[in-house]
């Protein structure tokens, strides 16, 4: 969708961007990452020609951008900046409709589009359409900034640290909202960031820049698991393995088809099951398979009776859609080494243990 072919930018004698080659496939979120002054913002701004490249070619949707009128080009690419840049003299509605108005869309069409877009980011059009930017909170302004870029439904979006100016709590919320939006819209996005956590969370591809050069361009998991050199390793942080926890879902790391007992089973049955699997506890499920409690091996050995009489409550359960970071956090919170995994309806699907997490993370390391 977007292709950079040996793109170089010189500012006087300084090479800001040095022969960068990269390709962003349609529907991907490509995060340009690096310390300040690494050339990531310059690279992004060359895509909509806010900065003209010194040499090299940039293709958007197969067309050489140098051959498209720059105003036409920019109207076909959504643009979001860190400072948001909502026009204070215009209402939220008119801000959202800036590009549709420039393109001469029918007014009714563009205004109904504005209302639809506001709903997509959970802002009530009835309340917000006629407001002015100064009447919005920072988070609301940023949401409007994002939907303004989407107004004319451009296939490509450029975002320059769009969530950088928002407090950490709101940032998480807006990032999640945005990812949900993106899952629906499937835009091709080039996203500048200096925050590795944000990159890991949002990106399908991460491009790491240093001194104007593209050092590594890969999936977040590969960047974290196999940094290409010491610079990347240092930049992604010594806790990069922990960061990978975020990228793996519980479902992909859990042991499936786990042993289970029912309330009416005897402790002997439970004990046999645990010995067979080498476990020291087993989960008790309800009649339809919902996780209800657990029985410990020492109890099963010492006592007589049914599971129902000797079960204890589960110390913690985790949803199979959560990431491993949440799972590990929950383990530490409850001081346990394993967690029962359930789906959205509470059905017992499997368990994650510290060993299964290590295995899941280790899988990619063992590839080499």
């Amino acid at each position: 969708m977007i292709r950079l072919d040996r793109v170089t930018k010189m500012f006087g004698p300084i090479t800001a961007v040095d022969a960068v080659d990269m390709e962003v496939p349609a529907g991907a979120v490509c995060v340009l990452l690096g310390p300040s002054g690494c050339g990531k913002t310059t690279t992004m701004k060359m895509i909509n020609r806010l900065i003209p490249p010194s040499s090299g070619k940039i293709y958007v949707d197969g067309r050489d951008t140098a051959e498209i009128d720059e105003v036409t080009l920019r109207r076909s690419i959504g643009y979001v900046i860190q400072q948001i840049g909502l026009f204070p003299n215009k209402t939220v509605e008119d801000n959202i409709c800036v590009v549709p108005d420039l393109l001469g869309w029918d007014r009714r069409k563009s205004r109904s589009r504005a209302a639809e877009l506001l709903r997509m980011v959970n802002l009530d059009p009835g309340i917000f359409l006629k407001r002015y930017p100064k009447e919005l909170s920072g988070g609301q302004q940023q949401r409007v900034g994002v939907v303004r870029a989407l107004a004319a439904d451009p296939p490509v979006l450029l975002m320059d640290e769009p969530f950088g100016a928002i407090d950490p709590i709101n940032r998480e919320v807006i990032q999640d909202e945005f990812m949900k939006l993106q899952a629906e819209l499937k835009k091709t996005i080039v996203f500048v960031s200096h925050d590795i956590d944000e990159a890991v969370k949002m990106a399908s591809r991460i491009a790491i820049f240093r001194d104007g050069r593209l050092i590594q361009y890969d999936t977040p998991d590969n960047i974290l698991a196999h940094p290409t050199d010491a610079f990347v390793a240092e930049f992604v942080g010594s806790d990069r393995t922990l960061k990978r926890l975020r990228l793996v879902k519980v479902e992909d790391a859990m042991m499936k088809e786990p042993p289970r007992v029912r309330a009416e089973d005897t402790l002997d049955t439970a004990l046999r099951l645990m010995e067979e699997h080498g476990h020291y506890a087993v989960v008790m499920v309800g009649p339809r398979g919902r996780a209800r409690g657990l029985v410990r091996v020492e109890i099963a050995r010492d006592k007589k009776g049914t599971v129902a009489e000797h079960q204890e409550s589960l110390p913690g359960v985790i949803n199979i859609d959560d990431d491993l970071r949440t799972a590990v956090s929950l383990m530490f919170t409850h001081g346990v080494t394993w967690l029962a995994c359930v789906d959205h309806d509470g059905f017992y699907k499997g368990y994650v243990s510290q060993r299964s997490i290590t295995n899941a993370l280790g899988a990619t390391y063992r590839d080499d």
Binding site: T72, R75, I84, P88, K90, V98, P133
Partner: protein, 216 residues
């Protein structure tokens, strides 16, 4: 009391003089807006040009009005307009330049660069950016400059009576030369009243033209 009697007895003349006064001021400010605003916008492109233009405009402001009228007499005599309406208007245009150019320049320069970048990034041309973003945001400050110019010109126009331009200054100059306190007071009151009225009218205009999103 005598002054009030004088005012009542001379209402038609006072009205006539007031219209002359308004004519001089409004024509000169209108022309000054047409020159000053574009100049103020243009010089935002070059720091050097801005420094020079603002310097020249400041120098013009320091010339005493009576001296400027004097200077214009020999120049405009070449076209037979040494005294009267034309030199008065020209002088007032010159005096208006500083407040209008300076306010336009400052207002446009103070527009948040992020807005300019957003506008450019979304595909606005320079003209569209000026029309949609920069001028609407700069407008309150520009109108402030116009208000300054108008009040200043109402005062200076009173002196233009000495070069035969008419206006409310006529009462003041006659009041002085004839030691007639009634005429003197009439002129002074009328000029003050005109200045205050004009200032409030423009303030109301400024409020009406400012986007609700920019009001503080």
């Amino acid at each position: 009391m005598e002054t009030i009697n004088f005012i009542v007895a001379n209402l038609p003349v006072i009205g006539q003089r007031t219209l002359e006064h308004i004519s001089i001021v409004s024509v000169s400010v209108a022309i000054a807006i047409l020159t000053g605003v574009p100049i103020g916008i243009l010089i935002t492109q070059s720091q050097i040009a801005a420094d020079r233009v603002l310097y020249v405009a400041s120098v013009i402001m320091t010339i005493p009005s009576i001296a400027l009228f004097g200077l214009l007499i020999p120049i405009l005599s070449l076209i037979g307009q040494g005294i009267g309406y034309l030199p008065a208007v020209i002088a007032l245009i010159l005096y208006s330049q500083l407040p209008i150019i300076r306010n336009t320049y400052t207002a446009v320069m103070n527009v948040d660069p992020a807005l300019r970048e957003a506008a450019r990034g979304m595909g606005m041309t320079t003209i569209q950016r000026l029309r949609e973003v920069e001028l609407p945001i700069a407008l309150p400050v520009i109108i402030n400059g116009v208000r300054n110019a108008v009040v200043l010109n109402i005062a200076i126009a009173a002196i233009a009576t000495y070069i035969g331009a008419g206006g409310l200054g006529t009462f003041i100059s006659r009041g002085i030369s004839q030691t007639d306190i009634r005429q003197l007071l009439t002129g002074a009151l009328a000029v003050s009243l005109l200045a205050i009225t004009a200032d409030y009218t423009l303030l109301a205009l400024q409020r009406a033209l400012t986007s609700p999103g920019l009001r503080t």
